[in-house]
């Protein structure tokens, strides 16, 4: 059973979350549902600092033993911090996808893009459909 999808952030259809820090930056990670599907994550390829990413394009890669998945940018912007703890401890995504397992912090180009993402209730619905 995956953890509750939180109301303090928005969700993409590709199972990323984006949390508005209120200072023009957002924190980005993958959802608990996504980590559950991926199973034990063994490696995370992080983007370089300062990288400009475009909404919907791959910005990082997560690998499990059996799969490799792109993480798509839920919004456009510039990477201003990466969670370098993941280089040593990729399992943080498995244990705490919504917290310690965050992936990047980005300066968002257009804050309005956040509103285009799903809220927790809509994302709940999406994954319940996914399961059937």
């Amino acid at each position: 059973m995956s953890k509750q999808n939180l109301n303090d952030r928005r969700y993409s259809r590709d199972h990323e979350w984006a949390k508005d820090n209120g200072d023009g930056t957002v924190l980005i990670g993958i959802t608990d549902y996504a980590q559950e599907m991926l199973t034990d994550i063994v490696f995370v390829e992080l983007p370089p600092m300062g990288k400009k990413v475009v909404k919907g394009e791959p910005m990082a890669v997560v690998e499990s033993v059996k799969s490799v998945s792109d993480i798509y940018a839920p919004v456009s912007g510039e990477v201003i911090a990466i969670n370098s703890k993941l280089e040593e401890e990729p399992a943080l995504i498995n244990s705490d996808a919504f917290g310690e397992g965050w992936i990047v912090r980005m300066r968002i180009d257009d804050a309005a893009e956040l509103a285009l993402l799903l809220d927790a209730a809509a994302y709940d619905l999406l994954i319940s459909e996914d399961k059937h």
């Binding site: 063994v42 490696f43 390829e45 690998e63 499990s64 033993v65 059996k66 799969s67 490799v68």
Partner: protein, 444 residues
């Protein structure tokens, strides 16, 4: 002779179980007009005795030389008896790729040990489980560099084996990358000035060999600096793997990848294959390199064991995003190499030294002949180029004595007329070398 154990009675029972009256029913999905009554143009079956007689007659149509003085990418070395005894154990040679680790610990551990030996010999942190051959290993390193750096040009020394350059060209063409060749200077080494001029931000990798095709040892350290200054990667190949027993490996001199032909390690000449593609790299490329990798881990009781690891790099998971499509290795050749290297141990250095002694002797004797000249000035391992009055005539004279002579460099380097590339390994005795020189002199 076929190898099906089915008796008539078996077939009757099995057909009944499968719910068919006639074997042909099994092939009903194949449109009738495309079904053959019999294969055309395939000879009748042979009994085992006839098969081996036939194979013997074909093998005898080859003329084995008394001596081989050509290296040029394939080397005649002594193979200790243990190598054949080990690789002919059916537990090894009749196994598939070790997908089921619990019943494949033998080959997995042997490959892990091989990877360790290769990493050490090449001066690298990691090596893969092997690739098809030295040429394709070099091409894979070039493609990986281009994909990693997102650059589209590959620079290769003209002193790299001509067939390796051809393979690199083919792989690069198919991927849409440009290939540029850098000439050599009088030493036989790469022209560093021209390389510097050619290097720019579009170059992904520079490919050299040391010893190179002419036998010359390249000066890797300054080369690595020049290449890295432009953000490109250095792929350093080698020709005869036994050179690694005595020469400073490129991995200790700044190369990013060391690739080469591992045939010299316990694998026969075999008319060119199967051989062993050695591929070693810096640790930072661990999750990107092509080919199989064996890793150590533990089972649930904490016992050490080995598995194929980091398979997400590979084609069957990454599919169209894979940097290579390779899915096998040359496991049995790698096993032979592992056994060979474990057999020699520290003696690999002695063997390499012996190769140098023989080579220097052959070289000295040949250069004593009228009209014979050294072509390149750089130090060599067990191959060297010499020019002579008439290369063709020399090889013809040697052939009459049952000796495969030097490799005629003019085939690939039109400017190197009457130039022969000779190789001397531990397989040549002083008497052999004297015979070669006498033959060339025309004393015999």
């Amino acid at each position: 002779m076929d190898y099906t154990p089915h008796t008539e009675e078996d077939i009757i029972q099995m057909k009944a179980a499968a719910g068919i009256a006639d074997i042909e029913e099994l092939f009903a999905d194949i449109p009738a007009k495309y079904r053959l009554a019999q294969l055309p143009d395939i000879p009748a079956p042979l009994a085992e005795q006839e098969t081996i007689a036939l194979m013997n007659s074909l093998a005898r149509k080859n003329k084995l030389p008394r001596l081989t003085l050509t290296g040029a990418g394939a080397y005649h070395h002594f193979i200790p008896a243990v190598v054949g005894h080990i690789i002919n154990r059916a537990e090894f040679y009749t196994a598939y790729t070790p997908y089921q680790a619990e019943i494949s610990q033998g080959v997995l551990q042997a490959i892990y040990e091989y990877q360790t030996m290769i990493a050490h010999l090449t001066g690298m942190e990691i090596a893969n489980a092997s690739m098809y051959d030295g040429a394709s290993a070099m091409a894979e390193a070039a493609i990986l560099s281009a994909k990693t750096l997102n650059r589209s040009k590959i620079v290769i020394a003209r002193s790299v084996h001509p067939e390796y350059r051809a393979v690199v060209r083919t792989y690069c063409w198919s991927n849409g990358y440009e290939v540029c060749e850098i000439p050599f200077v009088k030493s036989g080494q790469i022209d560093l000035d021209l390389l510097q001029k050619e290097l720019d931000e579009t170059v992904a990798a520079v490919l050299v060999q040391s010893p190179n095709f002419f036998g010359s040892i390249e000066d890797i350290a300054p080369l690595a600096d020049v290449v890295h200054a432009k953000g490109a990667l250095l792929v350093a190949g080698f020709t005869d793997g036994t050179a690694l027993g005595i020469l400073q490996p490129a991995g200790e001199l700044g190369a990013d990848f060391v690739v080469g032909e591992g045939q010299s390690f316990g694998n026969p000449l075999n008319y060119g294959g199967p051989y062993l593609g050695v591929f070693a790299a810096r640790e930072k490329f661990l999750r990107r390199i092509p080919g199989r990798l064996v890793g150590a881990t533990v089972d649930k009781n904490g016992r050490r064991g080995f598995v194929l690891t980091l398979q997400t790099r590979e084609q069957h998971i990454r599919r169209e995003k894979a940097t290579s499509n390779i899915c096998s290795n040359e496991a049995l050749c790698a096993l032979a190499a592992g056994v060979y290297l474990a057999t020699l141990g520290q003696n690999l250095q002695k063997l390499a030294a012996l190769n140098i002694q023989k080579t220097q002797y052959l070289k000295k004797q040949l250069l004593g002949l009228p009209g014979w000249k050294e072509v390149f000035t750089a130090p060599v391992y067990n191959e060297f180029a010499v020019s002579c009055p008439d290369a063709r005539k020399v090889n013809e004279a040697l052939k009459k004595e049952g000796i495969i002579g030097g490799y005629e460099l003019q085939k690939d380097y039109p400017e190197l007329k009457n130039t022969l590339l000779f190789c001397a390994t531990e397989m040549l005795s002083r008497e052999d070398i004297d015979r070669v020189v006498d033959t060339v002199k025309g004393d015999r």
